[in-house]
Protein backbone atom coordinates (compact mmCIF):
# COMPACT_ATOMS: atom_id res chain seq x y z
CA UNK A 1 0.00 0.00 0.00
CA UNK A 2 2.78 2.37 0.92
CA UNK A 3 4.52 1.77 -2.39
CA UNK A 4 1.34 2.72 -4.28
CA UNK A 5 0.69 5.88 -2.30
CA UNK A 6 4.12 7.42 -2.78
CA UNK A 7 4.03 7.87 -6.56
CA UNK A 8 0.47 9.27 -6.37
CA UNK A 9 1.59 11.79 -3.80
CA UNK A 10 4.55 12.73 -5.99
CA UNK A 11 2.27 13.17 -8.99
CA UNK A 12 0.03 15.53 -7.03
CA UNK A 13 3.09 17.47 -5.92
CA UNK A 14 4.31 17.63 -9.48
CA UNK A 15 0.92 18.83 -10.67
CA UNK A 16 0.69 21.42 -7.91
CA UNK A 17 4.17 22.68 -8.64
CA UNK A 18 3.58 22.93 -12.39
CA UNK A 19 0.31 24.83 -11.88
CA UNK A 20 2.23 27.38 -9.83
CA UNK A 21 5.10 27.60 -12.28
CA UNK A 22 3.19 27.39 -15.51
CA UNK A 23 -0.04 29.21 -14.65
CA UNK A 24 0.29 31.43 -11.60
CA UNK A 25 3.77 32.85 -12.22
CA UNK A 26 3.13 33.78 -15.87
CA UNK A 27 -0.26 35.27 -14.97
CA UNK A 28 1.27 37.27 -12.16
CA UNK A 29 4.13 38.52 -14.34
CA UNK A 30 1.71 39.51 -17.12
CA UNK A 31 -0.55 41.34 -14.63
CA UNK A 32 2.45 43.16 -13.20
CA UNK A 33 3.57 44.32 -16.67
CA UNK A 34 0.02 45.41 -17.41
CA UNK A 35 -0.23 47.41 -14.16
CA UNK A 36 3.09 49.19 -14.76
CA UNK A 37 2.07 50.00 -18.35
CA UNK A 38 -1.31 51.37 -17.23
CA UNK A 39 0.37 53.51 -14.54
CA UNK A 40 2.80 54.96 -17.09
CA UNK A 41 -0.03 55.67 -19.52
CA UNK A 42 -2.00 57.44 -16.80
CA UNK A 43 1.07 59.57 -16.07
CA UNK A 44 1.50 60.45 -19.75
CA UNK A 45 -2.19 61.36 -20.03
CA UNK A 46 -1.90 63.55 -16.94
CA UNK A 47 0.94 65.55 -18.51
CA UNK A 48 -0.43 65.74 -22.06
CA UNK A 49 -3.89 66.82 -20.87
CA UNK A 50 -2.35 69.76 -19.04
CA UNK A 51 -0.85 70.93 -22.31
CA UNK A 52 -4.20 71.02 -24.12
CA UNK A 53 -5.67 74.49 -23.68
CA UNK A 54 -9.44 74.72 -23.37
CA UNK A 55 -10.86 76.10 -26.61
CA UNK A 56 -13.61 78.70 -26.57
CA UNK A 57 -14.86 77.75 -30.03
CA UNK A 58 -14.72 74.56 -32.08
CA UNK A 59 -11.32 75.29 -33.69
CA UNK A 60 -8.10 77.08 -32.81
CA UNK A 61 -8.21 80.87 -33.21
CA UNK A 62 -5.78 80.62 -36.14
CA UNK A 63 -8.51 78.91 -38.23
CA UNK A 64 -10.86 81.89 -37.86
CA UNK A 65 -8.16 84.56 -38.27
CA UNK A 66 -7.12 82.89 -41.53
CA UNK A 67 -10.51 84.01 -42.88
CA UNK A 68 -10.91 87.40 -41.15
CA UNK A 69 -7.59 88.70 -39.85
CA UNK A 70 -9.24 91.62 -38.01
CA UNK A 71 -11.46 89.40 -35.87
CA UNK A 72 -12.80 90.92 -32.69
CA UNK A 73 -15.28 89.40 -30.32
CA UNK A 74 -17.29 86.49 -31.74
CA UNK A 75 -20.69 85.28 -30.59
CA UNK A 76 -22.34 81.96 -31.26
CA UNK A 77 -25.55 81.95 -33.27
CA UNK A 78 -28.01 79.18 -32.45
CA UNK A 79 -28.85 77.54 -35.77
CA UNK A 80 -32.15 75.63 -35.97
CA UNK A 81 -32.61 75.57 -39.73
CA UNK A 82 -33.05 72.75 -42.24
CA UNK A 83 -29.45 72.27 -43.34
CA UNK A 84 -27.68 69.16 -42.08
CA UNK A 85 -24.08 68.78 -40.87
CA UNK A 86 -23.83 72.38 -39.65
CA UNK A 87 -21.25 72.29 -36.86
CA UNK A 88 -21.03 75.89 -35.69
CA UNK A 89 -22.31 79.33 -36.67
CA UNK A 90 -20.44 82.34 -35.32
CA UNK A 91 -21.24 85.99 -35.77
CA UNK A 92 -18.07 88.03 -36.30
CA UNK A 93 -19.78 91.46 -36.30
CA UNK A 94 -20.40 93.86 -39.22
CA UNK A 95 -22.76 91.30 -40.79
CA UNK A 96 -19.99 88.71 -41.13
CA UNK A 97 -20.61 85.07 -40.30
CA UNK A 98 -18.25 82.14 -39.87
CA UNK A 99 -20.11 78.94 -40.72
CA UNK A 100 -18.57 75.51 -40.12
CA UNK A 101 -19.97 72.57 -42.09
CA UNK A 102 -18.87 68.94 -42.37
CA UNK A 103 -19.17 66.71 -45.44
CA UNK A 104 -18.14 63.13 -46.17
CA UNK A 105 -15.29 62.86 -48.63
CA UNK A 106 -13.10 59.86 -49.42
CA UNK A 107 -11.58 59.36 -45.96
CA UNK A 108 -13.52 57.86 -43.06
CA UNK A 109 -13.35 61.19 -41.20
CA UNK A 110 -15.53 63.85 -42.87
CA UNK A 111 -13.90 67.11 -43.91
CA UNK A 112 -14.80 70.22 -41.89
CA UNK A 113 -14.89 73.53 -43.74
CA UNK A 114 -15.17 77.00 -42.18
CA UNK A 115 -16.62 79.59 -44.56
CA UNK A 116 -16.59 83.34 -43.90
CA UNK A 117 -19.59 85.04 -45.54
CA UNK A 118 -20.74 88.66 -45.58
CA UNK A 119 -22.85 88.84 -48.74
CA UNK A 120 -25.07 86.26 -50.42
CA UNK A 121 -23.32 83.35 -52.15
CA UNK A 122 -19.83 84.90 -51.95
CA UNK A 123 -17.19 83.48 -49.64
CA UNK A 124 -14.82 86.06 -48.12
CA UNK A 125 -12.52 83.30 -46.98
CA UNK A 126 -12.44 79.54 -46.57
CA UNK A 127 -10.42 77.30 -44.29
CA UNK A 128 -10.51 73.51 -44.39
CA UNK A 129 -10.12 72.91 -40.66
CA UNK A 130 -10.25 69.09 -40.70
CA UNK A 131 -9.03 67.11 -43.70
CA UNK A 132 -7.83 63.53 -43.63
CA UNK A 133 -8.15 63.00 -47.38
CA UNK A 134 -5.33 61.31 -49.37
CA UNK A 135 -2.19 63.40 -49.46
CA UNK A 136 -1.32 64.67 -52.91
CA UNK A 137 -4.87 64.06 -54.13
CA UNK A 138 -7.91 64.91 -51.99
CA UNK A 139 -5.79 66.87 -49.53
CA UNK A 140 -5.19 69.41 -52.30
CA UNK A 141 -8.55 71.00 -51.37
CA UNK A 142 -6.69 72.64 -48.47
CA UNK A 143 -4.19 74.33 -50.80
CA UNK A 144 -4.43 78.03 -51.61
CA UNK A 145 -4.22 77.28 -55.34
CA UNK A 146 -7.58 75.48 -55.16
CA UNK A 147 -9.21 77.73 -52.54
CA UNK A 148 -8.43 80.82 -54.64
CA UNK A 149 -10.77 79.48 -57.35
CA UNK A 150 -13.68 79.65 -54.88
CA UNK A 151 -12.95 82.66 -52.64
CA UNK A 152 -14.57 85.84 -53.93
CA UNK A 153 -16.40 83.99 -56.72
CA UNK A 154 -20.16 83.86 -56.88
CA UNK A 155 -21.83 80.61 -55.85
CA UNK A 156 -23.57 78.26 -55.46
CA UNK A 157 -20.90 76.11 -57.01
CA UNK A 158 -21.45 73.22 -59.40
CA UNK A 159 -18.51 70.99 -60.22
CA UNK A 160 -17.54 71.20 -63.87
CA UNK A 161 -19.62 74.35 -64.45
CA UNK A 162 -18.38 77.24 -62.35
CA UNK A 163 -15.80 75.23 -60.38
CA UNK A 164 -12.99 73.04 -61.72
CA UNK A 165 -12.46 69.92 -59.65
CA UNK A 166 -9.15 68.27 -58.82
CA UNK A 167 -8.25 65.33 -61.07
CA UNK A 168 -8.56 61.93 -59.30
CA UNK A 169 -10.04 63.59 -56.21
CA UNK A 170 -13.74 63.66 -57.13
CA UNK A 171 -15.03 62.55 -53.71
CA UNK A 172 -13.05 65.24 -51.90
CA UNK A 173 -13.97 68.07 -54.28
CA UNK A 174 -17.62 67.03 -54.20
CA UNK A 175 -17.58 67.06 -50.38
CA UNK A 176 -15.90 70.48 -50.38
CA UNK A 177 -18.44 71.92 -52.84
CA UNK A 178 -21.31 70.49 -50.81
CA UNK A 179 -19.94 72.01 -47.60
CA UNK A 180 -19.46 75.47 -49.15
CA UNK A 181 -22.94 75.44 -50.74
CA UNK A 182 -24.48 74.37 -47.41
CA UNK A 183 -22.74 77.30 -45.71
CA UNK A 184 -24.27 79.65 -48.31
CA UNK A 185 -27.74 78.22 -47.61
CA UNK A 186 -27.24 78.60 -43.84
CA UNK A 187 -26.23 82.24 -44.36
CA UNK A 188 -29.40 82.84 -46.41
CA UNK A 189 -31.58 81.28 -43.69
CA UNK A 190 -29.93 83.42 -40.99
CA UNK A 191 -30.43 86.55 -43.12
CA UNK A 192 -34.09 85.70 -43.67
CA UNK A 193 -34.51 85.12 -39.94
CA UNK A 194 -32.93 88.51 -39.17
CA UNK A 195 -35.20 90.26 -41.71
CA UNK A 196 -38.30 88.75 -40.13
Amino acid sequence: MKKNKTPEKNQKNDRGFSVFKEVLVPTFSLCLILCVTVALLALTRHFTEKNAKPKLWRYEDSVYTQIYDDLGRMTEVAYTGEQENVLEVLSAGEGRYLISVSAKGYASTPIEVVVGIQSSYVADGICVAVCEETQGLGANITKDKFLETVIGEEGPFVLGENLDGIAAATYSTKAFTKAVNTAFEVFEEIKEGDAQ
Binding site: T27, S108, Q135
Partner: protein
Protein backbone atom coordinates in the same frame (compact mmCIF):
# COMPACT_ATOMS: atom_id res chain seq x y z
CA UNK B 1 32.86 48.54 -30.45
CA UNK B 2 32.84 47.07 -33.97
CA UNK B 3 29.98 44.78 -32.94
CA UNK B 4 27.93 47.74 -31.62
CA UNK B 5 28.49 49.65 -34.85
CA UNK B 6 27.48 46.57 -36.82
CA UNK B 7 24.24 46.22 -34.79
CA UNK B 8 23.42 49.88 -35.43
CA UNK B 9 24.12 49.80 -39.17
CA UNK B 10 22.54 46.38 -39.78
CA UNK B 11 19.04 47.85 -39.75
CA UNK B 12 19.98 50.73 -42.02
CA UNK B 13 21.61 48.81 -44.87
CA UNK B 14 22.11 45.06 -44.60
CA UNK B 15 18.86 44.21 -42.82
CA UNK B 16 16.75 47.21 -43.79
CA UNK B 17 13.26 46.27 -42.54
CA UNK B 18 11.42 47.70 -45.55
CA UNK B 19 13.76 47.16 -48.49
CA UNK B 20 15.47 43.91 -47.48
CA UNK B 21 13.32 42.11 -44.89
CA UNK B 22 10.09 43.41 -46.51
CA UNK B 23 8.37 43.99 -43.15
CA UNK B 24 5.82 46.72 -42.36
CA UNK B 25 4.49 46.93 -45.92
CA UNK B 26 1.06 48.29 -44.89
CA UNK B 27 2.26 51.65 -43.46
CA UNK B 28 4.96 51.78 -46.14
CA UNK B 29 2.43 51.85 -48.95
CA UNK B 30 -0.21 53.92 -47.14
CA UNK B 31 1.88 56.70 -45.63
CA UNK B 32 4.42 57.34 -48.39
CA UNK B 33 2.31 59.82 -50.37
CA UNK B 34 4.14 62.68 -48.61
CA UNK B 35 7.62 63.05 -47.10
CA UNK B 36 6.37 64.84 -43.96
CA UNK B 37 3.94 62.11 -42.96
CA UNK B 38 6.53 59.44 -43.84
CA UNK B 39 9.07 61.15 -41.58
CA UNK B 40 6.51 61.44 -38.76
CA UNK B 41 5.58 57.77 -39.10
CA UNK B 42 9.25 56.75 -39.20
CA UNK B 43 10.13 58.75 -36.09
CA UNK B 44 7.08 57.43 -34.19
CA UNK B 45 8.03 53.84 -35.12
CA UNK B 46 11.67 54.47 -34.12
CA UNK B 47 10.56 55.74 -30.70
CA UNK B 48 8.39 52.66 -30.20
CA UNK B 49 11.15 50.33 -31.46
CA UNK B 50 13.82 51.74 -29.15
CA UNK B 51 11.47 51.83 -26.15
CA UNK B 52 9.95 48.38 -26.66
CA UNK B 53 13.31 46.74 -27.46
CA UNK B 54 14.84 48.22 -24.29
CA UNK B 55 11.95 47.21 -22.03
CA UNK B 56 11.59 43.74 -23.57
CA UNK B 57 15.32 43.15 -23.17
CA UNK B 58 15.08 44.26 -19.51
CA UNK B 59 12.17 41.86 -18.95
CA UNK B 60 13.64 38.91 -20.88
CA UNK B 61 14.51 36.93 -17.73
CA UNK B 62 11.33 37.92 -15.91
CA UNK B 63 8.74 37.11 -18.60
CA UNK B 64 7.82 33.43 -18.91
CA UNK B 65 8.07 31.87 -22.38
CA UNK B 66 4.37 30.96 -22.45
CA UNK B 67 3.21 34.56 -22.04
CA UNK B 68 5.99 36.33 -23.91
CA UNK B 69 3.90 37.37 -26.94
CA UNK B 70 1.02 38.95 -24.89
CA UNK B 71 3.66 40.64 -22.71
CA UNK B 72 5.42 42.06 -25.78
CA UNK B 73 2.09 43.27 -27.18
CA UNK B 74 1.27 45.03 -23.87
CA UNK B 75 4.67 46.78 -23.85
CA UNK B 76 4.46 47.77 -27.53
CA UNK B 77 0.83 48.93 -27.22
CA UNK B 78 1.80 50.99 -24.17
CA UNK B 79 4.53 52.79 -26.11
CA UNK B 80 2.27 53.34 -29.12
CA UNK B 81 -0.47 54.84 -26.92
CA UNK B 82 2.14 57.14 -25.34
CA UNK B 83 3.29 58.31 -28.80
CA UNK B 84 -0.35 58.83 -29.79
CA UNK B 85 -1.07 60.98 -26.72
CA UNK B 86 2.12 63.03 -27.18
CA UNK B 87 1.49 63.54 -30.88
CA UNK B 88 -2.16 64.49 -30.33
CA UNK B 89 -1.07 67.04 -27.76
CA UNK B 90 2.03 68.55 -29.43
CA UNK B 91 1.70 67.75 -33.18
CA UNK B 92 -2.05 67.69 -33.93
CA UNK B 93 -1.67 68.20 -37.69
CA UNK B 94 0.71 65.25 -38.05
CA UNK B 95 -1.59 63.23 -35.78
CA UNK B 96 -4.45 63.93 -38.20
CA UNK B 97 -2.32 63.10 -41.26
CA UNK B 98 -1.19 59.71 -39.90
CA UNK B 99 -4.76 58.78 -38.94
CA UNK B 100 -5.41 55.10 -38.35
CA UNK B 101 -1.82 54.13 -39.21
CA UNK B 102 -0.51 55.54 -35.93
CA UNK B 103 -2.36 53.10 -33.62
CA UNK B 104 -1.60 50.37 -36.16
CA UNK B 105 2.11 50.60 -35.22
CA UNK B 106 1.13 48.09 -32.49
CA UNK B 107 0.83 45.35 -35.10
CA UNK B 108 3.81 46.45 -37.17
CA UNK B 109 5.79 43.29 -37.95
CA UNK B 110 9.12 45.09 -37.55
CA UNK B 111 8.50 45.84 -33.88
CA UNK B 112 7.21 42.41 -32.89
CA UNK B 113 9.84 40.77 -35.10
CA UNK B 114 12.73 42.59 -33.45
CA UNK B 115 11.28 41.96 -29.99
CA UNK B 116 11.13 38.20 -30.64
CA UNK B 117 14.31 37.81 -32.70
CA UNK B 118 16.67 40.25 -31.04
CA UNK B 119 15.55 42.01 -27.85
CA UNK B 120 14.46 38.80 -26.09
CA UNK B 121 17.93 37.28 -26.60
CA UNK B 122 20.34 40.23 -26.23
CA UNK B 123 21.49 42.81 -23.70
CA UNK B 124 19.68 46.10 -23.08
CA UNK B 125 22.30 48.25 -24.82
CA UNK B 126 22.45 46.05 -27.90
CA UNK B 127 18.64 45.90 -28.10
CA UNK B 128 18.32 49.69 -27.88
CA UNK B 129 20.96 50.05 -30.61
CA UNK B 130 19.14 47.50 -32.76
CA UNK B 131 15.87 49.42 -32.29
CA UNK B 132 17.58 52.66 -33.25
CA UNK B 133 19.19 51.12 -36.33
CA UNK B 134 16.00 49.42 -37.45
CA UNK B 135 13.97 52.60 -36.83
CA UNK B 136 16.48 54.68 -38.78
CA UNK B 137 16.41 52.17 -41.64
CA UNK B 138 12.61 52.20 -41.68
CA UNK B 139 12.49 56.02 -41.59
CA UNK B 140 15.05 56.35 -44.37
CA UNK B 141 13.24 53.82 -46.56
CA UNK B 142 9.87 55.54 -46.00
CA UNK B 143 11.32 58.97 -46.77
CA UNK B 144 13.04 57.69 -49.92
CA UNK B 145 9.84 56.08 -51.25
CA UNK B 146 7.77 59.13 -50.23
CA UNK B 147 10.22 61.55 -51.89
CA UNK B 148 10.01 59.66 -55.19
CA UNK B 149 6.19 59.38 -55.05
CA UNK B 150 5.67 63.00 -53.99
CA UNK B 151 8.12 64.36 -56.56
CA UNK B 152 6.68 62.49 -59.52
CA UNK B 153 3.09 62.67 -58.23
CA UNK B 154 2.85 66.34 -57.30
CA UNK B 155 6.12 68.00 -58.30
CA UNK B 156 6.94 68.77 -54.65
CA UNK B 157 9.21 67.31 -52.00
CA UNK B 158 8.13 67.81 -48.38
CA UNK B 159 5.43 70.20 -49.70
CA UNK B 160 8.13 72.46 -51.21
CA UNK B 161 7.32 73.08 -54.87
CA UNK B 162 10.11 71.99 -57.21
CA UNK B 163 8.63 71.27 -60.62
CA UNK B 164 4.98 71.91 -59.66
CA UNK B 165 4.73 75.14 -61.67
CA UNK B 166 5.92 73.88 -65.04
CA UNK B 167 5.39 70.12 -64.91
CA UNK B 168 2.09 68.67 -63.71
CA UNK B 169 2.44 65.68 -61.41
CA UNK B 170 1.63 62.15 -62.53
CA UNK B 171 -1.32 61.13 -60.35
CA UNK B 172 -0.37 57.46 -60.83
CA UNK B 173 2.47 57.84 -58.30
CA UNK B 174 0.10 59.02 -55.56
CA UNK B 175 -2.32 56.16 -56.13
CA UNK B 176 -1.76 52.72 -54.50
CA UNK B 177 -0.53 51.27 -57.80
CA UNK B 178 2.19 53.93 -57.88
CA UNK B 179 3.15 52.96 -54.34
CA UNK B 180 3.67 49.32 -55.35
CA UNK B 181 5.56 50.40 -58.48
CA UNK B 182 7.90 52.76 -56.61
CA UNK B 183 8.52 50.24 -53.82
CA UNK B 184 9.27 47.50 -56.34
CA UNK B 185 11.70 49.69 -58.30
CA UNK B 186 13.55 50.80 -55.16
CA UNK B 187 13.81 47.21 -53.87
CA UNK B 188 15.17 46.15 -57.28
CA UNK B 189 17.82 48.90 -57.21
CA UNK B 190 18.82 48.04 -53.62
CA UNK B 191 19.08 44.33 -54.50
CA UNK B 192 21.14 45.11 -57.61
CA UNK B 193 23.58 47.19 -55.58
CA UNK B 194 23.92 44.68 -52.72
CA UNK B 195 24.28 41.70 -55.05
CA UNK B 196 26.87 43.53 -57.11
CA UNK B 197 28.77 44.18 -53.90
CA UNK B 198 28.52 40.53 -52.92
CA UNK B 199 29.83 39.49 -56.34
CA UNK B 200 33.12 41.22 -55.52
CA UNK B 201 35.82 38.81 -56.80
CA UNK B 202 38.17 40.02 -54.05
CA UNK B 203 35.99 38.21 -51.52
CA UNK B 204 36.17 34.46 -51.37
CA UNK B 205 33.12 32.23 -51.15
CA UNK B 206 33.51 31.64 -47.40
CA UNK B 207 33.64 35.37 -46.60
CA UNK B 208 30.50 36.05 -48.64
CA UNK B 209 28.63 33.23 -46.99
CA UNK B 210 29.62 34.46 -43.54
CA UNK B 211 28.53 37.99 -44.36
CA UNK B 212 25.18 36.76 -45.61
CA UNK B 213 24.63 34.33 -42.73
CA UNK B 214 25.41 36.98 -40.12
CA UNK B 215 22.22 38.88 -40.92
CA UNK B 216 19.99 35.84 -41.31
CA UNK B 217 17.39 35.27 -38.57
CA UNK B 218 17.53 31.49 -39.25
CA UNK B 219 21.27 31.34 -38.67
CA UNK B 220 21.03 29.18 -35.51
CA UNK B 221 18.76 26.59 -37.19
CA UNK B 222 21.07 26.42 -40.22
CA UNK B 223 24.16 25.93 -38.08
CA UNK B 224 22.47 23.19 -36.07
CA UNK B 225 21.53 21.38 -39.28
CA UNK B 226 25.09 21.68 -40.63
CA UNK B 227 26.54 20.33 -37.41
CA UNK B 228 23.87 17.64 -36.99
Amino acid sequence: MKKKWQILTNGIIKENPTLVLLLGMCPTLAITTGVISALGMGLATTFVLVGSNTVISLLRKFVQKTVRIPAYIVVIAGFVTMVEMLMKSYLPSLYGALGIYLPLIVVNCIILGRAELFASQNTVGDSALDGLGMGAGFTLALCLIAAVREFFGTGCIAEIAITEEWMPGMTFFILPAGGFFTLGMIIAIVRYITEKRNRDPQKNCREREEEFCESCPNRAICQNEKEG
